[in-house]
């Protein structure tokens, strides 16, 4: 257990994470979303005509589509879309070296501990700041292997055919209102291509940050793992505290070709003024494997349901998710698996903790198409409610159209067991130490899958969240 003084997240956040730099950006779009904003953005990025067309069509779709009526309608209805800057570009060119990055931006990332992590753990970093990738570094080894880890803008410039082939085929702009929004104004995000039979041994990482008041963050990520390859991509983000609301609406598309493996790990810790509405989906082909490891700690409202479509025999999908909801937060997370081929398997593990007036929801789908024989799927959801006002919901759906499938789903809800607490206290632990130990045990299936740095950061963050919850 840490000996440092624990402060509640609301008090400490401002100094630790809640700072923001004075705004001196080269370009900042006006508030609200217009056709002109999209055209200006595309022109500034010097995009091909087909990309502008893609954006403009998505903009039309965005305006037509209604807000989803399921989920936390009250919170969704309170987002003021007209009061958001949709594109800000902090500097003119992308840098490859930390030393070349503008000082104030480097300070921001220094405070967040990125250079340290870079030295110790990272193969390559693209640092998302506002809407543009500022810093980009990729190790020589990866380049020699043929691995491409670029900003999405660079990916579009250097590999337009690949981007055009895959972008929007996993998540079409029509999929939902926020996918349409992202398709219209996406900026930043990562493009990753791993060639056949290449194994990337060190996690690829990117950090995100929202700074300008009412800044929308619309990164678009596309990861293609060619046959027989494997890659682990990690994202973790924080944002400063503001009084008005920020919107984060990302789209992540993953393609795992035959025999490939992709693991995508996220620790989301947006400050509590952020709406985090994300569409993440993967396709897995023959004998391929996709794992989503999803940690949701921050934001006012997160709606995110990582999905895996198992398209060919032998494919496997796994989703491991934790959600922590404190006062006034709603983590609305889940998992979707579609078995569209025989002998495919899936495992979903969801752990949630609700504290104070927090609400954690699980929404899931397991669907087995007719003809997808020999499927095995298992879903386990556990929810811990710490206080009387805490709330949890579970809404799983299983649609099974093949009679050879073996499907299991279990969910449970409880509070921290009095017996467990008593036992640990009788061993000399304080109540807060006992609580932390029980909670760490509860989320252990998740934390053991994280790179060490993240596991440590996660423990620290949960400790901050838990402070004030006991006694």
């Amino acid at each position: 257990m840490s000996n440092q003084t624990l402060e509640s997240i609301g008090q400490d956040y401002d100094t630790q994470f809640g700072f923001h730099d004075p705004e001196n950006y080269v370009f900042k779009s006006g508030r609200g979303l217009t056709r002109e904003t999209v055209e200006a953005m595309s022109a500034m990025k010097k995009e091909p005509a087909w990309m502008l067309e893609f954006r403009l069509k998505a903009l039309e779709i965005y305006h037509q589509k209604p807000m989803p009526r399921w989920g936390d309608s009250k919170m969704l209805d309170s987002i003021d879309f007209d009061n958001i800057h949709y594109y800000v570009r902090p500097s003119e060119r992308e840098e490859k070296n930390w030393d070349d990055v503008p000082q104030d931006i480097r300070n921001t990332f220094d405070k967040l501990g990125i250079p340290e992590a870079e030295r110790k753990f990272l193969a390559g970093v693209t640092a998302q700041y506002e809407s543009e990738v500022v810093y980009h570094s990729i190790s020589k080894d990866l380049e020699a292997q043929g691995v491409r880890f670029l900003s999405m803008d660079d990916g579009l410039r250097q590999f337009p055919e690949i981007v055009r082939q895959y972008l929007g085929t996993i998540i079409p702009p029509h999929d939902n209102k926020f996918a349409a929004l992202n398709s219209a104004v996406w900026s930043g995000g990562s493009f990753v291509y791993v060639p056949k039979n290449t194994h990337v041994n060190i996690p690829l990482q990117a950090y995100f940050r929202i700074n300008t008041e009412n800044m929308g963050q619309f990164e678009r990520t596309l990861i293609i793992a060619d046959e027989g390859s494997s890659v682990h991509y990690v994202e973790g983000c924080t944002a400063p505290t503001y009084s008005s609301d920020s919107l984060h609406s990302a789209v992540v598309e993953l393609i795992a070709l035959a025999g490939a493996k992709i693991r995508y790990t996220t620790i989301q810790n947006w400050s509590k003024n952020v709406y985090n509405l994300v569409t993440k989906r993967a396709v897995a082909y023959r004998n391929a494997r996709v794992e989503w490891v999803d940690g949701n700690l921050g934001s006012k409202l997160t709606m995110k349901y990582p999905a895996v479509y198992l398209m060919e025999p032998g494919a496997h999908g796994e989703i491991l998710s934790i959600a922590f909801s404190g006062d006034d937060q709603h983590q609305d997370a889940g998992a979707k698996i579609v078995h569209a081929a025989p002998n495919t398997t899936s495992v979903v593990t969801s752990k949630s903790i609700s504290k104070g007036t927090g609400r954690s929801s699980y929404r899931g789908l397991v669907r087995v198409e007719k003809g997808a024989t020999g499927v095995k799927s298992s879903v386990v959801c556990d929810a811990l409610l710490l206080n009387p006002e805490s709330r949890t919901d579970t809404y799983p759906t299983m649609e099974i159209h093949d009679s050879t499938a073996n499907i299991g789903h279990e969910a449970s809800v409880s509070k921290v067991s009095d017996e467990q607490l008593y036992y640990l206290r009788s061993r000399g632990l304080s109540e807060s130490q006992a609580m932390m130990m029980i909670i760490n045990g509860f989320i252990e299936p998740f934390t053991r899958e994280l790179p060490l740095e993240y596991a440590v950061e996660l423990n620290r963050l949960i400790q901050l969240e838990m402070e004030g919850s006991v006694g």
């Binding site: 085929t169 079409p172 029509h174 999929d175 479509y309 569209a340």
Partner: protein, 105 residues
């Protein structure tokens, strides 16, 4: 082959989609693209939304609910979230009427 009369030639306007219910309750959608007629199940294979309010892009039909696309000639699902192909039917026009081949219906 079992040809069923389903519409009048004059009802099929270039680029527009019409929906025709069959006595069995199933609904067939029809469209004309570059002069040629296409017929397919009106229900998207993803979530059973009507395709007759969708869009024609070249020779594919796009469902307005979540963006699933299908090839009009073969019915093949071209992108997610559709994972199952769409049923398509042979069409012929004779003497002002449009016929679809519903096979063993």
């Amino acid at each position: 082959m079992s040809w069923t009369q389903i519409a009048q030639t004059t009802e099929l306007v270039e680029g527009q989609i019409i929906a025709k219910p069959l006595p069995s309750g199933k609904i067939i959608a029809l469209t004309r693209v570059q002069g040629r007629c296409f017929a397919f199940d009106d229900e998207c294979t993803h979530e059973e939304v009507s395709l007759s309010v969708g869009w024609i892009n070249g020779t594919s039909i796009e469902c307005p609910a979540h963006g699933a696309r299908f090839d009009l000639c073969s019915g093949k699902a071209l992108c997610l979230p559709a994972t199952r192909d769409l049923a398509v039917y042979a069409v012929k026009e004779e003497e002002g009427s449009v016929y679809v081949d519903l096979g063993a219906e």
